[in-house]
Amino acid sequence: MSNMKLTLHIWRQRNANDTGTFETHTVEANEHMSFLEMLDVLNQGLIEQKKIPVAFEHDCREGICGACSMVINGRPHGLLGGTTVCQLHMRFFKDGDHIWVEPFRAKAFKVIRDLVVDRSSFDRIIQAGGYVSVNTGGTPDGNAIPIEKDIASQSMDAAACIGCGACVAACPNGSAMLFTAAKASHLGLLPQGEVENSRRVQAMVHQHDKEGFGRCSNTYACEAECPKEISVTNIARLNRWYLKSSLGSNV
């Protein structure tokens, strides 16, 4: 088990109104730690020195909840593709490395403290239409509604979105189109969700714009940085649905 000594340049900010600045710390880690465990070690040290620990979000620590959110050396969730911070292990760093850790930056994501940002705008996009409003009753029979494998797979691929916000953090426009598109695709592709697709797409896109996210200019940085590798094809699908529901009518 090899140990390493790292220099962390870590973002400290008391609240949304504070300007914030980088603080430098050294920390000893070993290669089997996850990035978050390394931050735990840093925080334990800070607590022992009677200093305020670095605030960061985390929950499941197995890459499925979407709570962890930070930018490491300019990349949301760090250098490893298709991985959240909690699944990024210290073996990808070497002894003596300088690591820059920052919060996800976007106007719509206000910093709450240090590396924690307010992502409740995502909840409001979901509330605007990211649900199916039929009364489902009890558990339905698995094969009661036949769905083609291809369609089910596309929907499942979109449903892999954990809503972490890395797409927004990566986007030079601060746009949340990949998130919105993934949620809309996940529901709209399936027969249960297709019924209210037009209304959902309109409502979610309008809420997205209202939250102060930027407009998509197809840089595809979101797809490259998404820990769940959600494809920008979902954005094209959302654009198609949005055009269709803007021009068409159900009457």
């Binding site: 340049h9 930018v71 976007a106 719509a108 986007c171 654009n239």
Partner: protein
């Protein structure tokens, strides 16, 4: 952006292929007659008003979009850069401003002189009844200046970088993305950019070195 962009993409095909007559060895006959036709034909006059409108729409919408998106971004990261995005995709507004500035020079040089002044000499060609303005000679004179040639090459290069991102981006915005067709759209975008911008780049170089 996508609809106006696609119109401008189509316009460039016409503009480039028509202007290939600048390379013809007939002392400007075919180009001057073509230029007279393009400025007199009523249908083309109508389309050209649409063109100017679309250029302005594309420019203003692009600037508005860039300002809005700059506001939505919370600031730069101190160290390193995100994966995926090309330089062109992140700098479409800058490239657009460069192209617009070039366009002002370009139109001032030829279009204004042809349309609004009597600076160009009139020439007649056997087999063609009416006298036409000798825009060919004006082009030839302009392209004897090294700085004009360099400005044109910079303008065309900015256009090429703008098109590499813009061509496929227009389709994505309209919701046209498909595992089979998207790679094809990308390849067509590259071929289009090389042909159009290569064609435009040859014109000043040909006149500077060979005429």
């Amino acid at each position: 952006m996508s609809l106006t962009g696609i119109f401008l993409i189509l316009f460039l095909i016409v503009h480039m292929s028509g202007n290939l007559q600048l390379l013809s060895d007939d002392g400007g006959r075919s180009f001057n007659i073509y230029a007279a036709f393009m400025s007199e034909n009523p249908l083309i006059r109508v389309v050209s008003i649409g063109l100017y409108t679309f250029i302005l729409l594309h420019s203003f919408q692009g600037i508005a979009l860039a300002i809005m998106n700059r506001k939505a971004k919370g600031g730069k990261y101190a160290h390193g850069k995100v994966a995926g995005a090309t330089w062109a995709s992140k700098n479409m507004a800058l490239l657009g401003i460069l192209i617009f500035a070039f366009l002002c020079l370009h139109m001032g040089d030829f279009w204004v002189k042809m349309r609004f002044t009597d600076q160009l000499t009139m020439v007649t060609y056997p087999g063609h009844d009416e006298a036409v303005q000798d825009i060919y000679s004006r082009v030839n004179v302009a392209f004897q200046e090294p700085w004009v040639v360099i400005v044109y090459l910079i303008g065309v290069f900015a256009l090429a970088v703008h098109l590499i991102h813009g061509f496929q981006s227009a389709f994505q915005t309209l919701g046209i993305a498909h595992e089979k067709y998207s790679p094809a759209i990308n390849i067509i975008g590259w071929i289009y950019t090389v042909l159009i911008c290569g064609g435009f780049a040859i014109m000043p170089l040909y006149h500077y070195f060979l005429r």
